[in-house]
Each structure stands twice: as C-alpha cells, then as structure tokens.
Symmetry: C2
Subunit: 127 residues, 2 copies
DNA sequence: TCTTGACCTTCCAGTTACTGGAGAGATTAG
DNA sequence: CTAATCTCTCCAGTAACTGGAAGGTCAAGA
C-alpha cells in the first residue's frame, strides 16, 4: 500500500502520515525500490488509532503514550484509565472556563445596542 | 516608565510587551538615550485592552481590529458588536464540540474497570 | 571608584501539530 | 511517448509567544 492509499484508509492527509513517521510515531514498515513508503494493515490500524485519539484531543505525546499501551500486551487498564481520566478532567476544566467566558461576553453583547452611535459597552468594558 | 513597570501595570510578561511592539500592535512611544523603551499611560491602557481581549479568546488579528475601533472616535457600536457576536458564536460551537467529546470519553472511562488486567474498553474503542 | 546585581537590548531558536510549496524522480494510462 | 499523477526530500510558515545567549546600562553600597 502506498502512502496515499494508507492515508485514505486511515482518514488522514498524506502530509500528516509522513509527519507521523518523521517524529517516530508510526513508521512505514518498508520502502519500495523507488523509495516509496509501503504501508501494511497494522500500520493503518495504528494511524487510525492516532487519528481517533487526536480527535479526542490527546496531544501527540499522549498518543505516543497510549500507542505504547495499545501495543503492550502487559499493560493494565488502570494505566489507560488514568490517562483518559486526566484528559476528561482537562475537558471539564476547559468547559468551565468557556462557560464563564460565554456568560460574560453574552452579557456584553446583549447590553450593546449595536447601532450607528459610537458608545459601546463592549469597548468600555475591555478598555 | 520602563518596560518592566509597563508590563506590571498591564499584567503582561515583558517578553510579550516587546513582542506586541515587534508585530506593530502597541509601539513603545519612545526610547531613552540608552535605547530603553519608554511607556506612557496611554500605551499601558492599550496593553490592558489587548490583555483583556486576549483573555476573551480574541486572536491577535481580532485584537488589532478591536484596537482600531477602540481608537476610532467615529466607529459605531454595531461594528464592535459584530466582532463580539462572531466570537460568541465560536465559543458556543466550541462548547458543543467539547460537550460531545466529554460525553463520549466519560462513557468510556466509566465502562473501564481500571484494574490490573489488560482488557480495556478505551483501547478497544480507540484501536 | 569599583563592583555587584538588576534591568535593558537584540537576535536566534524552540514550542505544537501540522500545512504548503518547490524541484525532482517514479509510475501509470492512453 | 507523453501527460498526468504520485512520491520523494527539504525548506518555510502558521499562532502567539517563550527561553536563552551575549552584551550594554543603571543605581546602590563598600
């Protein structure tokens, strides 16, 4: 499988697949005579694993860690749960921040008449 | 006022204040004989304006736009409201994404026993 | 007066996770 | 055979800073 087939199968851009190989996340198993990267199903599975983990907001380094656990037959589910729980807490923290941001900004937006006059409570508040 | 006094007054790191000058967001009004940047109260007010806008998640370019409106006596509150409303919609979109992410991950975390055995629904789901 | 330490300068590099493009070689279809 | 498509490597850029090196400046104390 050449890189574009692998990238389609994994749902990732070709550039990204190459990038993941560069940073040592998922190497192409081998090269063709012409030097083309050749992928097999196992690599594609790893790429899919990474794509999904990234969609969950795990950083590349967390993906590296998860991938290590994914490939490790002896890992305990406790280790995986620890990482996922940490990530969940980060999401919850982000949600709280976003909520207070939202409320404050929504208040400003509703209190601004939004007409052609120059007085604006948003600017007054920011300045 | 030297840069460190201005940075304290504005609540921003010195590096960031210098950076904002480099990208033409807030120039230091003048330099001392020794070449030190000298800030006045007006610059500090602009820095505070930017810090608060950044805390609201406006990008640097949006800050530039808002700063233009802030300094423009002829701007209408409608222009400001337009930018703030756009930002509010982005926040709401982000909240929805984060919520579905949260629910999915929370489901996985609760379904994982988190013991010393290797079977783990989180890994099963991601892989 | 000298020195010490805090403060200031510029410039370069690194961060995160890619993305775009140039220039060149390989492969495939018609 | 040629044109289109694919692939390669390498370089540079994104956003918004942050860290550090090397060196100039300033104020206070011995």
């Amino acid at each position: 499988m050449n890189i574009s087939a692998a990238s389609k199968a994994a749902g990732l851009p070709v550039k990204t697949v190459r990038y993941y190989a560069d940073i040592g996340l998922v190497q192409a198993p081998s090269r063709s005579n012409a030097g083309y990267r050749t992928y097999d199903d196992a690599s594609v599975r790893k790429l899919v694993f990474i794509r999904r983990s990234r969609e969950f907001g795990f950083t590349i380094e967390e993906c590296r860690e998860l991938l290590g656990l994914y490939q490790d037959q002896d890992r305990t589910s406790a280790e995986v749960k620890r990482i996922a729980t940490k990530r969940l807490e980060e999401i919850e923290e982000k949600q709280r921040e976003l909520q207070s941001l939202h409320d404050e900004l929504a208040h400003l937006v509703t209190s601004c008449r939004g007409d052609h006059r120059p007085d604006c409570p948003i600017i007054d508040y920011l300045g």
